[in-house]
Symmetry: C3
Subunit: 487 residues, 3 copies
Amino acid sequence: MATTTAQTTAHLVTPTGGPRRLRPHPDRLLPADPATRAVARELYDGIRDLPIVSPHGHVPAAWLAEDAAFRDPTSLLVTPDHYVTRLMHAQGVPLDRLGVGRGPLSEAESREAFRLLCAGWRTYRGTAVRHWLEHTLAHVLDVDVEPSAATADAVYDQVADRIAAPDLRPRALYDRFGLSVLATTDDPTDDLRHHRALAADPSWRGRVVPTFRPDAYVEVRRSDWPDAVTRLGAVADVDTATYAGWIAAMEARRSYFQEHGATSTDHSHRDARAEPLERSVAERLYARAVAGAVTPDEADALRRDLLFQMARMASEDGLVMTLHPAVARDHHPGTRDRYGADVGADIPVGVEFTDALRPVLGAFGTNPRFQLVVFTIDETVYSRELAPLAGFYPSLYVGAPWWFLDAPEAMTRFRSAVTETTGFTRTAGFVDDTRAFLSIPARHDTARRVDAAYLARLVAEHRLDLDEAHEVAHDLTVVNPREAFRL
Amino acid sequence: MATTTAQTTAHLVTPTGGPRRLRPHPDRLLPADPATRAVARELYDGIRDLPIVSPHGHVPAAWLAEDAAFRDPTSLLVTPDHYVTRLMHAQGVPLDRLGVGRGPLSEAESREAFRLLCAGWRTYRGTAVRHWLEHTLAHVLDVDVEPSAATADAVYDQVADRIAAPDLRPRALYDRFGLSVLATTDDPTDDLRHHRALAADPSWRGRVVPTFRPDAYVEVRRSDWPDAVTRLGAVADVDTATYAGWIAAMEARRSYFQEHGATSTDHSHRDARAEPLERSVAERLYARAVAGAVTPDEADALRRDLLFQMARMASEDGLVMTLHPAVARDHHPGTRDRYGADVGADIPVGVEFTDALRPVLGAFGTNPRFQLVVFTIDETVYSRELAPLAGFYPSLYVGAPWWFLDAPEAMTRFRSAVTETTGFTRTAGFVDDTRAFLSIPARHDTARRVDAAYLARLVAEHRLDLDEAHEVAHDLTVVNPREAFRL
Amino acid sequence: MATTTAQTTAHLVTPTGGPRRLRPHPDRLLPADPATRAVARELYDGIRDLPIVSPHGHVPAAWLAEDAAFRDPTSLLVTPDHYVTRLMHAQGVPLDRLGVGRGPLSEAESREAFRLLCAGWRTYRGTAVRHWLEHTLAHVLDVDVEPSAATADAVYDQVADRIAAPDLRPRALYDRFGLSVLATTDDPTDDLRHHRALAADPSWRGRVVPTFRPDAYVEVRRSDWPDAVTRLGAVADVDTATYAGWIAAMEARRSYFQEHGATSTDHSHRDARAEPLERSVAERLYARAVAGAVTPDEADALRRDLLFQMARMASEDGLVMTLHPAVARDHHPGTRDRYGADVGADIPVGVEFTDALRPVLGAFGTNPRFQLVVFTIDETVYSRELAPLAGFYPSLYVGAPWWFLDAPEAMTRFRSAVTETTGFTRTAGFVDDTRAFLSIPARHDTARRVDAAYLARLVAEHRLDLDEAHEVAHDLTVVNPREAFRL
């Protein structure tokens, strides 16, 4: 009891002196008002056990193709999940102590990293990560004590023990989670061998589809762009030294992905603009880019043309186009230099859609073959731009709140800002967008609770009838995502 | 029961198998918490039957001057209401099937268009349009079954039957709705014959006032601008080939409108900027505009000067200036080309007021003759700009949430974001801004319920006393709009 | 009963005909739902009487050093508080009638100004100011009738009577308010004599610390900048005609402040950008600025370099850097010319942090010596930029909602937007930022109630356990601000 920390946390044990139990409450995230909660509980019960449709995420297909046991608790739950590591980093924990940017950890290092998470458990209070971790630990890994400095080793042992069991292998979890489809995110030059292996495996009854993510081939300013287009040309067997070659190669690879089950492409650039150039201008800029002589403004113009070409291809081949724009990647240079990309140092910036999407929507917005799902981390566009756009264009769906916004209150704000203008039918349903496979049920469960809570309020305020709310809850869970992503 | 749609909608019939009743709940939109609801109900009861002040909208004065029966359900409820048609369009229904851009529909076509609305009823779940349509159908047109594919013809017949009755003529509805004043929106060259006819009619006891809307004469870049200023000159009997002529003609027409009851002018441009040019510069740019030789930047500069001149005139003649800025009009070129303007393809863009209004407020902001009501579809400016501005400048009122934001939760967010900084006295009250005459009571009723609900929460949280809340509710309904619009 | 005002306010008296009582409800600002309120009340009870940590504000140190009685009710409660005067101004009351920009008022003038406040009491309904004034009047000044035209003189007398008593002197109030530390805001050239006097006074047991606010020396475009840097050089005994001199003088004055107890510096510019120039460029621009020959763009570049230098110094001397950016100062020129600065005519503008802070965070963001607290009046950056930044960088704290956002619902929106991404540990706690000394307990009490209400909802929704909520409430009140400001 000598330190401040001890004093402030001393009461956080059970009266009997044992560690606190980890027992996610059955009514968590449902509204406090008793009558509204009763409706929310009924609505949630109606969708809780529906299949999980996961149309966008970052789980490796290899996990399911190979179906190997997970290695250890830290490499499963901590190291690869930047939602988890970034908050530790904000508390002053260097990322390498959590295993980031390193090879496999020793048993001692893995334990130590896991202990940092457990000891810092209070950091996650009030966050979405806390819900996901609790749900994962309690419902997937059968942990029943709250993580803390004192329980860290016991929790580690419990997790290690569980993931050694056959029912914790990826395919068993796919079934247990009730996944009906899981989309991966893949490079256009990927040969999709793991997807092919799954397709060829008679013992596999699930569905894992690739997603075409060509950003590296569109960002002509990136230092690795020349190598990327060369690789693209090689894989597609087309000379990509010309604009026409780039177009042909992309069309070929889209076709390849589509043959292997892809239903969508994904695009993430600094802004959402996509505008065609005159063909001759595009060809000239492309040649300059290949020669390494493009200016920043020219690079932006060419990128926006290439993205427009992607929309044009989508209007022809029917792959759904999804946009995740406006993130400042690798905000901290020191972290990028030491740890690389995707380690939690990406920060959103403001975004604009009304003008940015005008050329694409002008060209393809009422084309029944074209479908566009737009995501944002900038909430200001919900009521101002996305709902009005989706409430007019039959091609445009509003994506679920994404990344920093895939949390209970943020999702509620999303529904509040979008529904009154555009209803429920124009929203794409929940997208987990995660590389943390074990957290998929937790994330979808959170979304289902939030939708149930929102709908319950509409019912309690006599804005929607209960039977209608049941139907909407069902559609948001399994119908809208299939429609929006053409699954 | 063979199709998915049938399966998901099959339970949406009453247990007896008949169609669902259309019965808007008396407590709709009031808070779920029982104690708060009781206060809200009391507050709502106190304002429910107050007269409707409608200081800004788009109902044609001819309807009241001529007092003819409405033609048919579709041309009354569907075709002209872009709130209704845009959501149908987003479901893939071409606008012409709803009557947009066509002459009068045949009986069969009208029925078919109405059937599309009824069959797509689920599209409107959770939207503001649903409230308005339900209220209109149930309380104005005595429809008691919910629209659906199955009930479409019966509902159509019921509506057709009702609008044939004398008590559904425009003047009878004006009385029945409890309208105390209705503002129209009019071109500066309009001779206001319908307003004059009403004024001259001894049997007419209502009040319909024109609003001066000079956008077409201010947007010097528009292709129809030369014709517009020529027409303006002809009507005002002034040579508008010069800047001085434009000013004189505008002053003359404002005066004409004021003589015919106008109390406000309305302005909607891409941004809210209004800044004076040197007189010689303005004259030179105007001459270039007349010659068709103005650059885009010059056109913007001239537009902002002309808008500033409007503010200057307002500070002299006392017409209230209202701004509805920052909408990308006719976002979809194909729709504009085929159907024209105002068919639901306008999309908001971000707006800025702090800098944009600085010249006008610097010049006239504390001038007691000057009054400005500012509207927005960009919620970000509520707490950041509009509430701080209205909490300092005695000339500036914050307009009600407009267009896409005139919905229950959006209006609640408006009150939440504005009230704590600037209180209630600086808000202009509800503006229906509609061309759907029959929806006026529904829209004002929604606003009254929302204000009652918001005030009830303040009372329940002991932030306001009940008697104060009654007074505020009363003022927001009938006092604030009269003050803000000088009615 | 002859006038409208009389009619609408006539019922706002008690049934017995006496004036309305002023009795702030014990449960004010707590949620209406009974179960949630019970939790909120318990949480609030746990923090209500904790010491007040006031790490940023504008109370003059002289008040505590000299400990003189307050002069009169108006100069204490009305004239210096722009929160109060700006809403009166918006009602058409000229600021000079409230004492702004004038010397001491006569007794009659002071009474008259106070009467304007009381007569306009309804203006404050729903605002944060109303809470603060009620709390101050009732709990600090023992006023028990509601201010109104009828009670103005009685309230004035009561206040005048109370402030004449010894227990209403500044030092007695410091104790009574439970202040544990109070930060002032000071010019870098200030000799801090009042802080020194307090330090040297054995009868003074409180803690008043200065804050280093160098804006006037950084805004090289301001007309008073040449005089300012000359003064700075004189006080620091350094030649500030060169860039090197400016740097040396600033370092010297920061050191002086630190020796006198300062733990932070404060910075408020039009934007939040801070970026280093090449040393030779900075020196050249500085020389041009001294010569009065700097262009606006150069002045911006130099300002951003000087602010970056401040961050660099902070990373070395450990003074916490705080930013309060993006306000259009003196929005109304006529008011500035007549009344000067800080009279309520400052209006927020949009702000951007992700790009603006990149150079500073790239250089010092993971430096344990560097600490940055970022404030905003633009709510759009909460979830989009500030929470993501604070959830990664260990140096960055999100400041409490500031200025127009330090109100109950705005603070709730702040918690809702920030917590899910970054938890509670990265928020800086409440900052009153006030020059109204008597309102300090009211403002902190409001923040405590709002935090209790927010946490209670998390508990009621089973998102946080009650014991955790107690701990978080305690930390937000007294731990986080001490950590964030290194107090």
